[in-house]
């Protein structure tokens, strides 16, 4: 379940702020995705620092009722390789 997994922005992706959110460009596959809400941008930027997606959503103040939509959006980003599962270092 994605909510319990650690994720992060892919290394080949650049995020460019826009008035309404951000432009995400993947230098490798040349895909271009617009993040249409600043809240989503905050979530995506927070992913790498949070233990899992659920924490990133909570940290960005996303109401629980909106979590399914956000998870679906994150799955869309994952499908374009904009975000990747984070491989945790063994302790």
């Amino acid at each position: 379940m994605m909510l319990d997994e650690p994720w992060a922005l892919s290394p080949s992706v650049a995020l460019r702020p826009e008035p309404f959110g951000a432009l995400a460009y993947h230098f490798g596959n040349r895909r271009l995705t617009f993040l249409k809400r600043p809240e989503l941008v905050a979530v995506v930027r927070a992913l790498a620092k949070q233990p899992d997606v659920r924490s990133a959503l909570a940290n960005a103040g996303i109401p629980t009722s909106q979590h399914p939509a956000y998870v679906e959006a994150l799955r869309g980003l994952a499908a374009a390789d904009m975000i990747r599962p984070r491989v945790e270092e063994p302790r």
């Binding site: 460019r16 702020p17 826009e18 008035p19 432009l23 460009y25 230098f27 617009f34 249409k36």
Partner: protein, 405 residues
Amino acid sequence: MTTTRERPATGSLVQQFEYGLDAPICLTWELTYACNLECAHCLSSSGRRDPRELTTEQCEAVIDELQRMQVFYVNIGGGEPTIRPDFWHLLQYAVDHQVGVKFSTNGVRITPERARFLASTDYVDVQISLDGATAEVNDHVRGPGSYNMALTALQNLADAGFRDAKISVVCTRHNIGQLDEFKALADRFGATLRLTRLRPSGRGAEVWDELHPLPEQQRDLYDWLMAHGEDVLTGDSFFHLAAFGEALPGLNLCGAGRVVCLIDPIGDVYACPFAIHDNFLAGNLLTDGGFRQVWQTSELFQELRSPQTGGACASCSFFDSCRGGCMAAKFFTGLPLDGPDPECVQGYGEAALAGDRVVPAPSQDHSRPNATRNQPVMLQLLTRPPVSACAESPLAGFDPEGCCS
């Protein structure tokens, strides 16, 4: 004076884009007006180098600025960009500074060695121009030997392992019947086919009446794209065909001055590469404080990012689909910008073309003054002189054979 609309907080991407962005999504940069060819329809009227061309250092400064603005991708063209001696240096400079490049070329410098270099370089895409699936059709417009040159370049790229080059075709009356052959060519070289719209821009103004697709051919093109759209690119240049029914893939909006623009060889910034004319000149990056300054603050771009009422088209039931068509196509055929596109699929364009209009004189012309051996037959056969804004007859430019099907 234009009123500034408040950008909505939500809404579709297209609605957001109509207000413009702080930086273009991607842009076209013509590096030189010099060209080894003399294509009849050249949108930038290229041939001779302009002595005011940006220097290597000035080009590097542009790339630095694009990097700062996070413009991730630029389409480099010309003229023929590869005949600039510093082309390969600038290419490397761009990719080293987080600016991906696709360059458009007629293939003249794509030797096996250069092809191997390109195959080994990330973040570079190559687009070969071709306007006929046979030498007969292609060379009529692009000049003798140009077909062979393009195919040689494609073969060199394929041999070197370069993946997914683009073949870019401008759709004309003479090549609309060759769409399947174009696709076969692309498949043969492991390339992707790109079909784009002929605009009456540059030298295109003089040949547009003879060369632009006929109404039934537009329908054929639309049907073919709907059937093959998955594998074929269009640069969203056929958004005016959306009025046939379902929109083709793409944003389906005019990006000029909102999400795209042109930087020309002397640093002039235009709304779009199909609109190289004083009317669409936003400024010059050398004299107006740099590219970012021009993009973000020029009066022309502010106007383009403010309410577009649609004028005469707004009452047409298809206006939401086609958005009134292409600004450049209207301008260079002497039609009003708030009226129908000359190729309006509902036929309103034909009626407008038949009425009084004055085709604007070009602002500039970089064509070679004397014909070379590369001159295409089409230019040789052109007996009608270019219409100028000084033409006295209100019917100047009206071609009884060309405009109605």
